[in-house]
């Protein structure tokens, strides 16, 4: 019984933890402009994150080595150092977006200016990082994040033309009002949102935090292969509500209140409240994960003691990194930069950084010195190879498309 409960909990937190501010904003923007014609990208991203989360989790469980230790060891100090600078900067950008997301969610329920909420949100994130047990932190954020199912409920209440929605999914085409370049730009943004590199840093380091061994691999596989696709369905539901309500009305998403507008229209105050709590939990959980990831990457590159499972004093530089990252995120947000704009930036640059994380993982997952008999099988490597091509193409195309389309405007 305890095992079944544990398994259910793992799957549920994987679903609730899948969506972050990047998924939320990008899916709503895409839904409001392209309908459901980009759902295939979410599918591609979900399969990709399943593949690489599974692989990095397996490397961490079998070898006990987290992703950035592997990157440092494989690439050497120079290439890994360049990788660290890029990964750390993009992770910081994502963290900034998540903290901004928490503040926006609090702003929606309180109508207190977001900039007053930003320091409060960051302080709350730090207190959880400082005090709470790793597993409790993961489970609470993941379970509350499940309230985002409110988007799916709203979709049913809206009673859309299902045949039309299915047609948009199965026969994707660029809407007449949009140019193909913009369509592909948003395809890459959506891919970056689904596969953000921090998830791999966090997933592999989390496996070390929770002390996974090779025998936990089956459970890990189930969590990933069931939880992430269902989390992906939440992403699609967000895009679908935007496609049903915002697209016909010609509303382009530029704020969180527009993202939840379809929910309010369909389900009233109660459903709106549930969804806002869901958004709060999802962004809060992702803020915890990204701030931890900033500590993980830096500490693992330099070989510092790290981990939330240690007393803070036993991982002093790691905890100092968490504090400094949160302070930087707050400082950036206090310039009254728009968190939604920061989010859109962060998902595009995530797509640019994907190969930096995924290539070393793929290499080490094939190294018998680390993996013993748990090295990648043929199917895994074939899929990994295909995704490698997709990831590299997306990374190379991201910046030129961003310039050519003026970031999708």
């Amino acid at each position: 019984m305890k095992r079944i409960l544990g398994a259910a909990l793992g799957i549920l937190t994987a679903i609730g933890g899948f969506v972050d501010i990047g998924d939320l904003v990008t899916n709503a923007v895409v839904g409001s402009r392209f309908g459901l014609s980009l759902v295939w990208v979410v599918l591609l991203g979900v399969v990709g994150i399943c593949l690489f989360a599974n692989m990095s989790g397996r490397v961490a469980a079998v070898s006990g080595r987290a992703t950035f230790e592997v990157i440092r060891e494989r690439l050497g100090p120079r290439a890994a150092g360049a990788n660290l600078v890029a990964s750390f900067a993009i992770n910081l950008l994502t963290l900034t977006a998540e903290v901004g997301g928490i503040a926006l969610a609090l702003h929606l329920v309180s109508s207190v200016e977001p900039r007053l909420w930003i320091p409060v949100a960051a302080l709350a994130v730090w207190l959880v990082l400082w005090r709470t047990k790793f597993q409790i932190m993961e489970n609470v954020a993941g379970l509350l994040g499940l309230l985002l199912i409110g988007f799916a409920v709203a979709l049913f209440l809206l009673g859309p033309d299902w045949g039309e929605l299915v047609r948009q999914v199965t026969q994707p085409s660029v809407p007449q009002s949009e140019s193909p370049a913009v369509y592909w730009f948003y395809a890459i943004a959506l891919f970056g949102a689904a596969m953000t590199p921090y998830e791999v840093f966090f997933f592999s380091s989390g496996a070390v935090e929770e002390g996974w061994k090779a025998k936990d691999l089956a459970q890990n596989r189930v969590n990933v292969l069931v939880g992430f696709p269902l989390g992906g369905l939440l992403s699609v539901a967000i895009a679908a509500t935007a496609a049903v309500v915002l697209l016909p009305a010609g509303i382009e998403v530029s704020s969180l209140s527009q993202i939840v507008l379809p929910v309010a229209a369909a389900g009233g105050t109660l459903l709106l409240a549930a969804v806002i709590i869901g958004i709060f939990a999802a962004t809060f959980g992702a803020a915890l994960e990204t701030s931890l990831s900033s500590g993980y990457t830096l500490a693992q590159f330099f070989g510092w003691s790290w981990g939330k499972f240690r007393r803070p004093a036993r991982a002093a530089r790691f905890h100092l990194t968490l504090i400094v990252s949160l302070v930087v995120a707050v400082a950036v947000l206090m310039t009254s930069v728009d968190p939604i704009a920061v989010t859109e930036m962060s998902v595009v640059f995530s797509a640019v950084a994907l190969p930096l994380t995924y290539v070393p993982i793929l290499v080490v997952a094939n190294d018998p010195e680390y993996m013993g008999r748990h090295v990648n099988g043929r199917v895994m490597n074939a899929l990994g190879g295909v995704y490698l091509v997709v990831i590299v193409v997306a990374a190379l195309a991201a910046i030129p498309l961003m310039i050519a389309t003026g970031a999708g405007s």
């Binding site: 100090p77 120079r78 005090r131 330099f302 240690r310 007393r311 004093a313 002093a316």
Partner: protein, 130 residues
């Protein structure tokens, strides 16, 4: 590069030693192998190119800068872990001593004693039940 009484294994320093994680005897991360200090087998001699050499110490910290940008740090600035303190070499380098007893741990101790340890709750064990 193996210790007496163990089976001999050929190790490529660049592939199997450099940039590996160093753990202390409790499995706590200490540093990364940033560079190696090579000495002559006989302590009285100075090492010369072409002659046999053994590893005297693992270098950490400041040696990363010279690995990145070239050059050689002065001997007085080297952060060393004596090779005699090494217990085992696998995918990590395991030491037979505690991190706190090593000179290379000073930065971690400085941050602990001056900053993180002073914040209330800094000694709290997050895995404790309460």
């Amino acid at each position: 590069m193996t210790r007496a009484g163990r089976s001999t294994r050929i190790v490529d320093a660049r592939l199997h030693l450099l940039s590996r994680q160093v753990l202390d005897d409790h499995g706590e991360p200490v540093a990364v192998v940033d560079d190696l200090e090579l000495v002559a087998p006989d302590a009285s001699q100075s090492p010369a190119p072409g002659s046999p050499a053994r590893i005297g110490a693992v270098l950490c910290g400041p040696s990363l800068v010279t690995r990145l940008f070239g050059g050689r740090p002065p001997a007085s600035r080297r952060a060393r872990i004596e090779w005699d303190d090494v217990e085992r070499l696998g995918t990590t380098l395991e030491l037979r001593v505690r991190a706190d007893s090593l000179d290379v741990g000073w930065a971690e101790r400085w941050v602990r004693d001056r900053m993180i340890g002073r914040i209330p709750g800094g000694q709290h064990d997050p895995e404790a039940s309460s």
